[in-house]
C-alpha cells in the first residue's frame, strides 16, 4: 500500500493525501476525515525514508554514548530520548565504547542516514572530525566536556567547583591525607576536578602529594586497582576522592577485601550520583551531577537548532552551565545529620 493507492481509493489526487499527512489544517474537514478513515482502514504508514528525502527531514536524531555499560550515560541518554520522543523523533543510540574510530564510523553512518541532528556525550572527536556534520548542515550539540569543541552548543557541568566542595567536605570532617583517583576520560572534566581538589588542599595549607594522584580506567575494576595501590602505600591516605561513582565502588570493594572499614579507616567520596550509589554499603557520599537534566537540556538545544534551521534563523551557539551538588551520605564519616537533609 502506498500513497497512490490511498489517493485512488479516496478519489483524490496524491497531493491531497500528502496535504492530509503533512498540513492537515489546509484540507477541508470532510475530505480530511474521509482520507484519514481510508488511511486507518488500510493501515497505511508513510515511508519515513522517502518522506525524509521530500522534506529534508527524517524525524531522527543521533546520540553518541561513550559507553552503554556506564549507568551515568544511561541517565543522560534517557533525558535526550524523553525530549526527542515528545517531539515525535526517534533517537539512534550509538555505543562508542570509548573508541574514537567507532565514534567516527557512527558519525558517518548517522550522516548517511540523514539524521536531523546529533547529540554527543563527552565526545572523543575534535572539531576537525566533526566538520563533516557541519558540511551537511546537521546541527551538533555537546553534553559534557572531553575535548575542546568550542564552536558547538554545549551543556556543561561546573566540575571544578563541585570537586572543590567535595574536597572541602573531606577536610571539614578532619581528613588531611586525601588522595585523588581519576579516570582517563572525560579528559577536560577530570582535569577540572583535579584543579578543584588542589585548590581546596592549598587553601587548607596542605601540600599536594603527587603520589596520591592516580589515573586508572574509568571502571569499577579501575577503582579496585587504584584502591589496592593506596592500601599498599607506606603512608596510606585517609580519604579517596574518586572522579566517578564507578571508581568509588571499586575502591570500596578493594577496602572490603582487605578488611579496611569505610568510612572508619578510609573515607571514600564519588562523583556523578548514579542510582546505585544510594544502594551500596555504606551509602556513597558523592557529587550529584544532574545527569537526566544534562540530557534534557542537550536535546532542547539541539531541537532549538533544528527548528531555527527550518525557519532559516541564525542563532549563536548556546552554552548552559549546570551546577553539581555535594550529596552527603555515609561513606566519609560525616557526623552532622543536617548535611544529609538538603
Amino acid at each position: 500500500m502506498n500513497i497512490r493507492h490511498i489517493a485512488q481509493k479516496a478519489g483524490v489526487s496524491v497531493a491531497t493525501v500528502s496535504r492530509v499527512l503533512n498540513h492537515p489544517e489546509s484540507v477541508a474537514t470532510a475530505t480530511k476525515e474521509k482520507i484519514e478513515a481510508i488511511i486507518a482502514q488500510e493501515e497505511y504508514t508513510p515511508n519515513w525514508f522517502a518522506r525524509g528525502l521530500n522534506f529534508n527531514k527524517t524525524a531522527t536524531i543521533g546520540l553518541m554514548i561513550p559507553h552503554i555499560m556506564n549507568p551515568m550515560h544511561m541517565e543522560i541518554a534517557k533525558g535526550v530520548e524523553d525530549v526527542a520522543q515528545h517531539k515525535d523523533y526517534t533517537t539512534f543510540m550509538c555505543n562508542v565504547e570509548d573508541n574514537v574510530e567507532k565514534e567516527k564510523q557512527y558519525l558517518e553512518n548517522l550522516i548517511k542516514r540523514r539524521v536531523d541532528g546529533i547529540v554527543f556525550i563527552s565526545s572523543l572527536l575534535g572539531e576537525k572530525d566533526l566538520c563533516i556534520a557541519d558540511e551537511q548542515g546537521i546541527p551538533v550539540v555537546m553534553i559534557g566536556e572531553n575535548r575542546e569543541t568550542l564552536k558547538y552548543p554545549v551543556v556543561r557541568v561546573d566540575c571544578q567547583n563541585a570537586a572543590y566542595e567535595a574536597t572541602k567536605h573531606l577536610l571539614e570532617i578532619g581528613h588531611h591525607d586525601i588522595a585523588m583517583l581519576y579516570g582517563k576520560k572525560p579528559e577536560i572534566e577530570n582535569r577540572q576536578k583535579i584543579e578543584g581538589y588542589k585548590t581546596a588542599l592549598k587553601e587548607a595549607g596542605i601540600a599536594v602529594n603527587d603520589e596520591f594522584i592516580i589515573s586508572v580506567e574509568n571502571t569499577i575494576e579501575g577503582g579496585y586497582l587504584g584502591g589496592k595501590k593506596y592500601i599498599d602505600m607506606e603512608k596510606r591516605p585517609q580519604a579517596v576522592f574518586a572522579t566517578s561513582d564507578l571508581l568509588a565502588f571499586g575502591v570500596i570493594d578493594a577496602m572490603k577485601d582487605n578488611d579496611i572499614s569505610v568510612p572508619k579507616e578510609m573515607a571514600v567520596i564519588g562523583f556523578d550520583n548514579i542510582r546505585m550509589s544510594n544502594l551500596i554499603e555504606p551509602k556513597l557520599t558523592t557529587v550529584e551531577k544532574p545527569l537526566h537534566k544534562m540530557g534534557v537540556l542537550g536535546a532542547r538545544l539541539l531541537f532549538d537548532m533544528i527548528e531555527s534551521k527550518e525557519k532559516e534563523e541564525k542563532q549563536p551557539p548556546k552554552e548552559i552551565l549546570l551546577q553539581a551538588k555535594l550529596k552527603i551520605r555515609k561513606s566519609c564519616g560525616h557526623k552532622e545529620r543536617i548535611g544529609e537533609m538538603f
Partner: protein
C-alpha cells in the same frame, strides 16, 4: 468608583491581586481559573529544567498555616508550551515562575517561557526545602548574577521572589535593582516543620518544607516595609493574605500589588473574587479614587525607636461592662496593675507601665491607651 487598574512593571492589571506560584497553578487550566475568578494576573507553579517526581504526602495544614514539600511543577518545559496556551486562552496576564541553579540554566528556561507567551518572569530561587541549608536567594551576589543573566536574555519584565530566610533582605532587593530586575516579590514560604505527632514521634511531613498562610503574614509585612524603606523598586507583597484587609496592609507598607496563594488553596478561587470586590467597596467607602493611593500610606507611621515620642499613657477602660467571666487582662498583666471589681476593670496608675498588652487581649476592646 475607585480606579482599580494597576500598572505593575508595565503589566496592565485590572486590579492589584495576583495568584501566587504554587500547586494551585499546576497547569494551564488551573492557572486559568484564577483569571476567570477575577485576579489581575496569575503566576504558574514554579517551572524547572527537569521536572521531578512528587513525594506523597506533600501538603499539610494545621488550621493556621500550611507546610508544603512539593518542590516544583511536574510538567516538563515541552508540556508548558501547550499549558501556557490554555492558561492564556481566556485572556489575562500570565507570569511564568522559574527556578534553576545557575544563571545560564535560569536564563535559558526564562527565554523558553517568554517564547511560550509568558507576560513576565518571576525568578524563584528562594525555596526553603531541599535546595540547601542556605537559601539561594539569601546571597545578593548570586541573585545579582542570576537576575542580570535573565534580564539580558528576555524582553519581558523580570520579578525576583525573595526569601525571609536571609539575614539582610535589603541587600538582596538592591542587588535585583542593580541587575536590572523590574520588581521583587516578598516573601516566599519560610522553612518549617509544621508539627510533631507526639504519639508516633513523627513530624507532620517527613522533611523540612515551606510554611505559608496566615501565620507568615507578619514576616511578609516586615520584609515588604524593609524593602520599601531601602529602594524604590516595585514590590509585590506575598504571605498570608487571607482577606482584602491583609492586601491593604501590604499595600500600605509599600506593595504595589499582592499575591494570594494558600488562601486560594484552602478556600477556593472564589476567595479571590471576594477580595477583589471587597477591596473595591472599601476603597469606595474611603473616598479613594485610585487604588494605588493606598501604597506606602502606613510607612510614615513606621518609626525608629529614636523617633518614638513616649507618652505617659496607661490602660483606661471605656466603661462598658466586661464580658461575663472574662479575666484575660488581670491574668496576663505582668505588672500586676489591673484590678477587677464586678464587671469593671481598672488599671492602677502607678503600677501600669503602659505596655499595651491588655488592649490587644481584651475580647471586647474596651481598654485603650490614654493619658
Amino acid at each position: 468608583m475607585t480606579n482599580m487598574l494597576t500598572d505593575f512593571v508595565g503589566l496592565k492589571m485590572k486590579n492589584p491581586f495576583i495568584i501566587a506560584a504554587g500547586p494551585w497553578n499546576r497547569d494551564g487550566s488551573s492557572t486559568k481559573k484564577g483569571l476567570l475568578a477575577g485576579a489581575g494576573a496569575v503566576i504558574t507553579e514554579t517551572i524547572v529544567s527537569d521536572a521531578m517526581l512528587d513525594v506523597r504526602p506533600r501538603i499539610a495544614y494545621n488550621g493556621f498555616g500550611a507546610q508544603n514539600i512539593r518542590l516544583y511543577s511536574d510538567i516538563q518545559v515541552e508540556g508548558w508550551e501547550h499549558e501556557m496556551d490554555i492558561a492564556k486562552s481566556a485572556g489575562g496576564i500570565v507570569i511564568a515562575s522559574v527556578s534553576a541553579h545557575t544563571p545560564s540554566e535560569l536564563a535559558y528556561l526564562a527565554s523558553k517561557m517568554e517564547k511560550f507567551g509568558a507576560d513576565a518572569i518571576e525568578i524563584s530561587v528562594s525555596n526553603p526545602a531541599k535546595e540547601g541549608l542556605e537559601v539561594l536567594a539569601s546571597n545578593p551576589d548570586v541573585i545579582f548574577d542570576m537576575t542580570r543573566e535573565v534580564v539580558s536574555n528576555v524582553r519581558i519584565p523580570v520579578i525576583v521572589k525573595l526569601s525571609q530566610n536571609s539575614t539582610n533582605i535589603s541587600r538582596v532587593a538592591k542587588a535585583v535593582q542593580k541587575a536590572g530586575g523590574s520588581a521583587v516579590s516578598a516573601i516566599n514560604s519560610v522553612r518549617c516543620i509544621l508539627g510533631v505527632d507526639i504519639e508516633k514521634a513523627e513530624p507532620s511531613l517527613p522533611t523540612y518544607g515551606g510554611y505559608s498562610g496566615v501565620p507568615i503574614r507578619p514576616l511578609g509585612l516586615a520584609s515588604v516595609a524593609t524593602i520599601a524603606q531601602t529602594s524604590d523598586i516595585p514590590i509585590c507583597g506575598v504571605g498570608g493574605i487571607d482577606n482584602f484587609r491583609n492586601a491593604v496592609e501590604y499595600m500600605m507598607l509599600g506593595a504595589s500589588a499582592v499575591q494570594v496563594g494558600t488562601a486560594v488553596m484552602i478556600h477556593g478561587f472564589e476567595r479571590i473574587t471576594e477580595m477583589v470586590e471587597q477591596l473595591e467597596e472599601w476603597c469606595d467607602s474611603h473616598g479613594i479614587s485610585d487604588v494605588q493611593e493606598i501604597r506606602g500610606k502606613a510607612l510614615k507611621n513606621l518609626k525608629s525607636f529614636d523617633e518614638m515620642k513616649i507618652e505617659p499613657a496607661i490602660s483606661i477602660s471605656d466603661g462598658r461592662p466586661c464580658r461575663e467571666g472574662c479575666n484575660e487582662c488581670v491574668r496576663s498583666c505582668v505588672y500586676n496593675a489591673i484590678e477587677k471589681t464586678g464587671n469593671e476593670v481598672k488599671a492602677i496608675g502607678d503600677r501600669c507601665t503602659g505596655c499595651g498588652l491588655c488592649t490587644s487581649l481584651c475580647p471586647i476592646k474596651k481598654l485603650h491607651m490614654k493619658w
